[in-house]
Symmetry: C2
Subunit: 383 residues, 2 copies
């Protein structure tokens, strides 16, 4: 691999939430992209290419946004990998900039879900999991049950993920929810897929997130004040599980982690904080374990002990995560990288992780088993 160093030099988001129809995909994308450019000290004229991640935005959604911010004419490409779409766009940008095609590019994740989605997000009808009724909430409910059974974890320990992530996002001005929830709130929320209730599930959200990615030459040209280096952006899909697989095995997360650790020449012990794909409370726990960031079977207990809270040994989701920052699916991967950038450059305000030098973001898209899905692990370091 011949990639030259690649940096994130600016980030911007629209506040995630539920917006009326007249707040369009294009409006949110424009807001986030402009904020990222401003943050990088860049103008539209500096941007050589645009990489967009979305799922439900319709054909050439990225071009519709690029045109509106003065980027018409540039190479624009749209990338879809379900909940890893924004992360996949970042990955393609990382490769193109690292290969020397461009010095400054814009990466944008965007989704307007509330216009299009009724109830929860579902896998495609031809998805292998969907074919057997293994829908997202059902799968994570089974995962929680199995985890409690195998490791003696309690319902309260799993619910602690939601309490923590909601607490973190009270300091995140871009979060959909900026209020705390109590353990009692989580335990007594409307049941969704036993034992999980509504507050164990990430919401349906609208929003956009963008970063400016640059080569060393681009960084110098823009005289960027803040930057963080992309050490890895590893993509894997799931393998077919045969026999009676353990739903919490998280083989896909383990491989996504290993692939990124190898690229970045780091180990799990080098990671200072994490933005984790907590589409459900239990998912944060089993994925942290899959990535070998927590010992197998210990994640729930460690969460309730504060190990993954701000101020703990390994802060996870200082942004509030998908559960509380919100989860506009195509935007999530880009929002995670915004948070890594802000943390690594000391701009995270009331949710700042102390001594944050190496951050990891993990995104998982597609089926619960990961078979028909995409997982992306991104590692950023202080420059």
């Amino acid at each position: 691999m011949n990639l030259d160093p690649v940096h994130v030099i600016g980030a911007g988001m629209s506040r995630f939430g539920r917006y009326p129809k007249d707040v369009t995909l294009e409006a949110m994308g424009t807001e986030a992209a402009r904020a990222a450019l401003r943050d990088a000290g860049a103008t539209a004229a500096d941007v050589e290419a645009v990489y967009v991640g979305h799922v439900f935005g319709g054909p050439v959604a990225g071009q519709r946004i690029a045109t509106r911010i003065g980027l018409a004419g540039r190479p624009v490409s749209n990338h879809e990998n379900y909940c890893s779409s924004g992360a996949t766009a970042l990955r393609e940008a990382w490769i193109a900039v690292g290969a020397g095609l461009y010095d400054v590019v814009l990466v944008l994740g965007v989704e307007k879900m509330t216009d299009r989605i009724r109830g929860g997000v579902q896998p495609d009808p031809n998805d292998l999991d969907a074919a057997i009724g293994f829908l997202f909430a059902a799968g994570h409910g089974l995962s929680a049950r199995r985890y409690m059974e195998d490791y003696g974890a309690t319902r309260e320990q799993i619910a602690a993920v939601a309490v923590k992530n909601h607490r973190h996002s009270t300091a995140n001005p871009y979060a959909q929810y900026q209020h705390e929830v109590t353990l009692d709130d989580v335990l007594h929320a409307r049941p969704i897929a036993e034992p999980l209730g509504l507050l164990d599930c990430s919401p349906i959200s609208d929003g956009a997130a963008a970063v400016v990615v640059a080569s060393p030459a681009g960084l110098r040209r823009l005289e960027a004040e803040a930057s963080a280096r992309i050490e890895a952006c590893a993509l894997v899909s799931g393998t077919v599980q045969t026999g009676l697989p353990d739903v919490n095995e998280e083989d896909v997360s383990r491989r996504a982690g290993h692939s990124a650790y190898e690229l970045a020449s780091v180990g799990p012990g080098d990671i200072d904080f994490v933005e984790m794909h907590d589409c459900f409370t239990i998912a944060e726990i089993v994925r942290l374990e899959g990535l070998e960031l927590l010992p197998r079977g210990r994640g729930a207990a460690l969460t309730s002990e504060g190990y993954t809270s701000l101020g703990g040994q390994l802060p996870v989701n200082p942004s509030g995560g998908l559960l509380s920052r919100g989860h506009p699916v195509g935007a999530t991967g880009a929002a995670q990288v915004c948070e890594l950038f802000w943390q690594l450059t000391g701009q995270a305000g009331g949710r700042q992780v102390e001594n944050a030098r190496t951050g990891l973001a993990y995104c998982k898209g597609g089926s619960v088993s990961g078979t028909d899905g995409a997982s992306v692990t991104t590692v950023l370091m202080t420059a």
Copy 2:
């Protein structure tokens, strides 16, 4: 730009056409991918990553196909740029292989349209063109009218594109239509957007096309018998036309051409044959002119004189093009590259272009004006 040489070493297609519901996206994708791997002398174990282009396939369609052919676990990404989706997937593969990330990857374009599309394909409702009623057929109808007015071209000369492309595809076993049409057939077909009739329009199609892309090391490892080098795969989007623009100006095609010519260090005069995005008869003409492959205003006359026919000075669409090979939108860009590969390696049978050493494929996706769209120009040369 630091890209190492990149080769196409195998190609495969499903026959384009209209298929019943039980011939799924996954089935067609699987067929094309397997054919390409077989052609390259590769097995699934050789493939390190998968790049998929589609528009209407639903979330993680590429993963659903990859899983079915033994490629579960690999990095799989889905790329959408409307009718340039397959070409965009090729472009990302070209960059990743050229940057040294992989030695052997699979590129697949696939679309099952007949299940999803009623009537013609339309731009997204938020597309700037669509907002003013400038839908695809309407736009190309205006383009034909303006072309006839400006250059004294006749309706018959424009119709000659359909006659030629249908004739070419009689020798293409993968074409949706393998029969000739007469000038009379074209002129008297059901009117669609005056002066264009049904046979001036590419059909709604199902199909898949795949190529295996390799580094020099991958090529040696697989002992590939046939190969063609990717000299350029240039992506641009349209610019905003102000004032009273000439719909036939084809600024986006001109820029896509220049970008590719520069990358490939060739000029229009070096191109031996072309796979052109003839979504409508008139589009083939104005785009050939936009790419400076034919003199402005002369394309219609030259077409009717046989200049762009097999055996002519610059054969265009030996495959039959979108008009007659068919146009499953996400597959088209990949199918064009299959044709370049077969032509450049002398495997095109009854539609073989003599002395084919440099081939160009041009794809245009999104709005007619190109403003909210993506154009990809690919240049392949004999190795």
